[in-house]
């Protein structure tokens, strides 16, 4: 399925489960997502991760409803946390940010400067992570401990980001990336008509579950 359509489908489902209270739908979403993930050969490690990570918020929200609200609602909310995470993981494991941005650019009229700008920045994530670590280490050497509370940490990282964004933009321009001019594509992405049908069927099924149960 095309990443852009997949994203829309997932967002519609996520919005629907946010505003409705349907335990069965939450379970169906979790099970179907799990099946899709297994069919896509997800590693055992990532599977464990998505089971363990939401456990604290899910239990927390359940306990809060148990003590201060209603128990039934608590179960729905706890499964909803899992439903969100499974929906999100199904998307991120079966689509890459690169394909998503390319199809958004070619099929959804996203301006090229946004598409390639975001993609360029995304590729710097690891560098940013290293930089933040380095800023913290450098400060620690002077016996200054920077946490998420210190403006200096944000200030220094933004200074680096300013530098990188200049360099990256210059680099892209010198490789003849011209803003707002039409581009040709090495790989043309066309949305298959079948994908639209799939999307409509999935959303239709969700409505049926919502009405029936």
């Amino acid at each position: 399925m095309d990443p852009a359509l997949k994203l829309i489908t997932i967002l519609i489902i996520a919005i629907e489960i946010s505003f409705t209270q349907n335990l069965i739908l939450n379970f169906i979403i979790i099970i179907v997502s799990l099946l899709i993930l297994i069919l896509n050969k997800i590693s055992l490690k990532s599977l464990l991760y998505i089971f363990l990570v939401p456990i604290i918020p899910a239990i927390g929200i359940y306990a809060a409803q148990l003590i201060n609200g209603s128990t039934n609602y608590g179960i729905i909310l706890a499964t909803r946390v899992y439903a969100y995470v499974f929906l999100g993981t199904t998307f991120t494991k079966t689509a890459s940010i690169k394909n998503l941005i390319f199809t958004l650019e070619q099929n959804c009229k996203l301006p090229a400067k946004f598409a390639y700008g975001v993609l360029g920045a995304f590729n710097l994530t690891e560098t940013i992570r290293k930089e933040i670590k380095q800023i913290k280490l450098a400060a620690a050497m002077r016996n200054v401990h920077l946490t998420f509370f210190s403006p200096t940490l944000y200030f220094k990282s933004i200074m680096s980001a300013l530098n990188w964004s200049n360099l990256l933009a210059e680099g892209m321009t010198s490789h003849l990336f011209v803003e707002d001019s039409p581009r040709t594509h090495f790989k043309n992405i066309n949305i298959n008509k079948l994908d639209y049908v799939k999307m409509i069927i999935i959303i239709f099924l969700v409505q049926i579950v919502l009405i029936k149960f």
């Binding site: 996520a14 946010s18 927390g60 940010i97 920045a121 994530t125 933040i132 403006p151």
Partner: protein
């Protein structure tokens, strides 16, 4: 609008959201331990509301740096897409949440006609962000089932958190950037 959102600024905007995202994830253990401590008392939602300010910080920060319409929304939406691919805890909710927080924060600056990048702007964006994200959490996290006392407490906690991180901390960072002549 056309001039502000050129290639370099788009890259910078995304980088700022990523920076905020990474600093936020580095503190993920605080959320989890806070949440675990509060769970036996049924007060886990407070962990969410105490830390929400960190979550939304990218939006006012971007608005203060670029001083242009759309900065808040763009930074939150771009940030949430990136966060989702980096493996955030909340999955699909991240994206919807990012969009709602972006609109909420942007609205604060819209109400001041994009002219007040000072304390008035901060108070305005704090108010809109608190109110709109609170309404969203009424549905998403089931706040509507709690008693009125708890709701009031949650609301105040959220407002203080957003004011400290989205207001004071943002202002301090912007002051530093202004002093070094990076932004006007």
């Amino acid at each position: 609008m056309q001039k502000t959102w050129n290639l370099r600024n788009i890259i910078l905007l995304t980088l700022i959201s990523i920076i905020c995202g990474i600093i936020f994830f580095a503190t993920g253990f605080i959320y989890n331990s806070l949440s675990l401590m509060l769970t036996p008392f049924g007060l886990a939602p407070f962990a969410n509301d105490i830390l929400i300010g960190l979550w939304i910080m990218a939006a006012p920060l971007a608005s203060f740096i670029f001083k242009a319409p759309g900065a808040s929304i763009l930074s939150e939406v771009l940030g949430s897409i990136v966060e989702m691919f980096l493996g955030g805890q909340w999955g699909a909710a991240t994206m919807i949440g990012g969009f709602i927080q972006g609109i909420a924060s942007e609205l604060g600056f819209t109400l001041t006609k994009y002219k007040h990048y000072d304390w008035i702007g901060i108070i305005s964006t704090t108010l809109t962000t608190t109110i709109i994200t609170f309404i969203w959490d009424c549905f998403k996290n089931g706040y509507s089932a709690y008693s009125i006392h708890m709701l009031i407490l949650l609301f105040i906690t959220r407002m203080i958190s957003i004011f400290i991180f989205g207001g004071i901390l943002t202002k301090l960072v912007t002051n530093m950037l202004t002093r070094s002549n990076v932004i006007k």
